[in-house]
């Protein structure tokens, strides 16, 4: 085979940042198929357009997700990559690996695919990039025999992902890794067999810093928090100040609720915890002196997504505080999740995310369906318009209250 010149891609081997072209050329040394991919990419660079088509029906037996069909739109010219499917491999919680696991993935992928990977894709899976239909089942078999499983794709539960949590972070308010592992294993059917109106993403962050960006891109954002007081080590506070930390400009002035005061003489920091909104700023600046509280759990937020179709949403609060206990197998969280799924599955249109459904149907209906209590923590402010629904049960409750009052009043008189 004559070596094709690729002047445009060669430009991207220059520069200090690690080059994806160099990575692809490494693979191309043993995998001729990657040479074809590089040639096609050079062509895309020349023509400023993609040369891939929509997915088709590919998969492994029993799974409706985890494999993304990918076909080249110029199969005659690039027969080696006429089919170039993606396999999503469910990552271990927190993306922790040992060298043996990495080598196992590499060996399977050397045998069955292009040797190109993404570590990792946006959803969190390890992405194996490029193989043909006949290899799919064998590749899955080898992965499964080695202890790996596929992630989600299509209208199903997408692979949950979690920050490093208690494995390497003093801010972790619950065991993000265990929760991620537990949910993933508890809902394998939902993950592997699409049965919903559209995708559902869960991302798990151990503290309000939200290192998995769950609030912006997860339908269900599980974000660690605490409900008691920030733990202050005053000696360490003094040490920061003695070492030149400008505590007023770097910490106090940035506090969104101005709930911190600093006693210059004693070099002590006092936090009005009742008015703290747990934004993490002071803790992030002074990690040696300040720690998250002891009564820890998570806030549940729902609805986050990118713009398509109607608008981008940030997830909003549906439960201000929930305990996440391994001991009860996260029963309360799972009950809430299952109610959300049931209501969404029952009511959503095709390709309607849960946040969009709530926008269409209203939070009132959502809260009723999921037995969640309306609380002021759910909104920035109450509604400003005078349009709201009344239901028969509202009037029934009113009547009941009135009757009860009458009875009480009556009994007072008789005494």
């Amino acid at each position: 085979m004559t070596e094709k010149k690729r002047p445009l891609l060669d430009e991207l081997k220059k520069g200090k940042w690690p080059s994806f072209v160099t990575e692809m050329e490494k693979s191309a040394e043993t995998k001729p198929v990657v040479n074809s991919l590089l040639n096609l990419l050079e062509r895309s660079f020349e023509e400023k357009r993609v040369h891939w088509k929509h997915g088709g029906i590919v998969g492994v037996r029993g799974y409706g997700g985890g494999v993304i069909g990918r076909y080249c739109d110029l199969p005659e010219e690039y027969p080696e990559i006429a089919e170039f499917h993606t396999i999503r491999v469910n990552q271990p919680s927190g993306w922790f690996y040992d060298s043996k696991a990495i080598r196992t993935l590499c060996d399977v992928w050397e045998k069955h695919g292009s040797g190109l990977t993404n570590m990792h894709g946006a959803t969190g899976d390890a992405i194996l990039l490029g193989t043909t239909t006949p290899h799919l089942q064998d590749c899955f078999n080898d992965l499964s025999d080695a202890g790996f499983d596929l992630g989600g794709s299509g209208s199903n539960l997408r692979t949950p992902s979690a920050c490093c949590g208690p494995a390497r972070c003093e801010y972790a308010c619950f065991d993000t890794l265990d929760l991620c592992h537990n949910i993933t294993n508890s809902y394998q059917d939902e993950l592997h067999r699409p049965m919903w109106p559209y995708k559902f993403k869960i991302k798990i962050s151990g503290c309000p810093n939200d290192c998995t960006s769950s609030i912006a891109r997860a339908d269900l954002s599980i974000i660690g928090t605490w409900r008691d007081s920030i733990r202050v080590n005053q000696e360490a506070v003094a040490e920061y100040v003695d070492n030149g930390l400008p505590i007023k400009s770097a910490v106090l002035d940035y506090c969104p609720t101005k709930c911190i005061s600093f006693d210059k003489e004693k070099k002590e920091m006092n936090i009005d915890n009742e008015n703290c909104t747990r934004c993490m700023h002071c803790i992030s600046v002074m990690p040696k002196a300040l720690r998250v509280g002891k009564e820890k759990g998570a806030t549940l937020l729902l609805g986050g997504k990118a713009t398509i179709v109607q608008s981008a949403f940030l997830s909003w609060v549906i439960k201000p505080f929930i305990k996440l206990d391994k001991e009860d197998n996260y029963a309360e969280l799972k009950e809430i999740m299952e109610k959300i799924w049931e209501w969404w599955d029952e009511n959503a249109k095709v390709r309607e995310r849960v946040g969009e459904l709530i926008y269409r149907k209203g939070m009132g209906e959502f809260l009723k369906a999921t037995d969640l209590e309306p609380v002021p923590q759910m909104v920035h402010h109450p509604r400003t318009n005078p349009y709201f629904f009344w239901y028969p049960e509202d009037f029934a409750a009113e009547k009941e209250a009135k009757d009860a009052n009458k009875e009480v009043a009556g009994s007072e008189v008789s005494e």
């Binding site: 940042w17 043996k100 990495i102 078999n141 499964s144 494995a167 972070c169 960006s213």
Partner: protein
Amino acid sequence: MTNPYYAKTDIGPPNFWNMLPQVIKDNYGNWLYHEKVKPGVLKHVGETGDELFTVRVGSPRLLSIETLRWFADIADKYCDGHLRFTSRHNVEFLLADGTKVDALVDELEAAGWPVGGTGKSLKNLIHTQGWIHCHSAATDASGTVKAVMDDLYDYFKKDDLPAKLKISMACCLNMCGAVHCSDIAFVGVHRKIPTIDDNGVANGCEIPNVVASCPTGAIRPNPKAKSVTINEEKCMYCGNCYSVCPSLSIMDPENDGIAIFVGGKVSNTRKGPEFSKLVIPFIPNEPPRWDSLVAAIRNLVEIWVKNAKKGERYGEWIERIGWEKFFEVANLPFTDKHIDDFTFSVPTFRTTTQFKFTDKK
């Protein structure tokens, strides 16, 4: 021939616990604090006094198995075989023995793998698949990212920016990843309505789904052709109909390109999460090195570095000075494209007489 062997399904991912180094198992949930040793190196200290060092390495996300095996070798050599990846595509080497850190950093750097991206630095750029492997990309992902990261390389290596800087890239409006809440986001965009292949629509697409996929009601059924029509005045080129129906191609090499948004964030620190806002509606695709894009992003980064207070993320800086001032400082034209005319536009309009004049020189 079908394979007669079907492996076990639904076994779930490998258990993370088995992947953890001993020092993490010993201090799991009991970390006390962390320090920044130097850019790219973190030290976590447990209640026991144990120390865990993390060396963070920037990666292009697309990795060959040759490189992954090399990472595994490095992990064996320095870290008893332990490593992890981050949500922003970095590789992190985890080790308990602090005396090995410098040698590890040196070996990684010598092989061309940059150590950095911690603290107040430019974080690794998260991005999507692009022309390498996606059907709906309006621009390339890996190519644009490589060009931008080459140019901003020093900001990844140092940690003396006003605050952390997260730049994100998505190659179409589907925005795989949290691109829409980044300090700086650049996104592949289309500018022309889709072309309709009536035969293809009639044979391959579900008309009600296609009609429902349009956020602006621009698509109507065309019963005669068993296809659809698209109202040019309503279409905003999102490409969602193409996602649902391959016969509505929206790709246009001459007119596709990139838009830039700034000032978003996801963390709940201080004011909380924010969407990024449009500052540059269009930059043409300029493979292989996207010079105009690279220059535009450098300008956006430099004005923030020059003008922000210590601790201010991109959006916090703009909020302090006001968007009208931002356009002046950035020397960017403000156009009709910057004023929202999509679904939730009105609350973004200025409903007060408080603003700064920027037209008097």
